[in-house]
Symmetry: C2
Subunit: 201 residues, 2 copies
């Protein structure tokens, strides 16, 4: 995946340290004060840098937060793959339980809501999100489902985009609207119901 983030042309060890401090500060602060009260000034103070250092690299607090998320996933790409034990249901349950655990982790909940807010209303950020986070993640999910197709567990003509939307859309919607308990049991029920279908068998 090509790195298209804005980085300083003279990036050296010191500016890399500042960059990391800024991203960590943005991530921590949004969890503490919420997105509405997150400010470039606040991030700068927490990171121990000047405001201008931030504005030199990022146009907005949304852009800083986005890169903070991107940095969390850095270095995970080499061996990133969904579990494949051959038991599709067990593997998907493990993955959706991990998704639930992350979405309900207080350290992630507020920053992810903030990122969702920005994505919903900022088409440019939405495009970067799709390209750099959503699409690579979706490919991992589809790769696992494709293996199940090859093993004859899923029909060859299954629309994998629809499958991904069904599995993760349910969990995501419940998280975003806080419309019910978001638990491991719920993750299991989503996987089981999506795999076997609503119809009586």
């Amino acid at each position: 995946m090509t790195d298209r983030r804005q980085t300083p042309p003279d990036a050296n060890r010191r500016s890399e340290a500042s960059r990391r401090a800024i991203l960590m500060a943005a991530f921590e602060l949004v969890g503490e004060v919420g997105y509405a009260r997150l400010s470039i000034e606040g991030i700068a103070a927490r990171a121990g840098v000047g405001k201008q250092t931030i504005y030199r690299w990022w146009p907005s607090k949304g852009a800083v937060l986005f890169d903070a998320f991107l940095s969390l996933s850095e270095g995970q790409e080499g061996d990133a793959a969904l579990p494949d034990t051959g038991d599709l249901e067990a593997d998907l349950k493990e993955v959706l339980r991990a998704t639930v655990a992350e979405l309900t982790d207080p350290r992630f909940d507020e920053p992810m809501r903030a990122l969702n807010t920005e994505i919903a209303t900022d088409p440019e950020l939405a495009a970067r999100y799709a390209e750099q986070l959503e699409e690579p993640m979706k490919e991992l999910k589809k790769t696992r489902l494709r293996k199940a197709q090859e093993a004859g567990q899923l029909p060859a003509d299954l629309d994998l985009d629809v499958a991904v939307d069904l599995l993760w859309g349910a969990v995501h919607r419940r998280w975003l609207y806080r419309s019910g308990p978001l638990t491991s049991d719920y993750a299991d029920a989503v996987v089981k119901t999506a795999l076997t279908g609503l119809y009586a068998r």
Copy 2:
């Protein structure tokens, strides 16, 4: 459903006219300028009322927009029910196609994104949204699914909340992230795949 919105105690015909003008102005304006640039001043100017008239009834632009949505669904409750021809798949496709049509209607797309943004970050508004819009809608959906259970088309032990999340979560996620074409064909594929399941039959 009890109406718990803030309404003036001396609500008469004239203030009702002002209220409707304000709600319509908020709905139109957010579609034109986006939520970030929506302001109480702008709404007041468009509605032909003073700012104080708005602040007397609503604490924020988010609250105005929320009531604008609520007023759209007013008077629809008496005969609101999902279609029931006995053909569950056809009925659900009709409903999800209508959902897709609304989400992709330019008059609704931007206001609904704005409302989603507010709901994701404002727990109080999220609670009102759940109580006054989401839950009543969800009950209609579950009522239709319950009829299918009674007809033996769906298993009696199906978790209807999971079923609703699967069907509408997929469509909602694709809309919010603009992660793929949101079309009638997509609505049909979601219904068919959710009903029959991902597994090969």
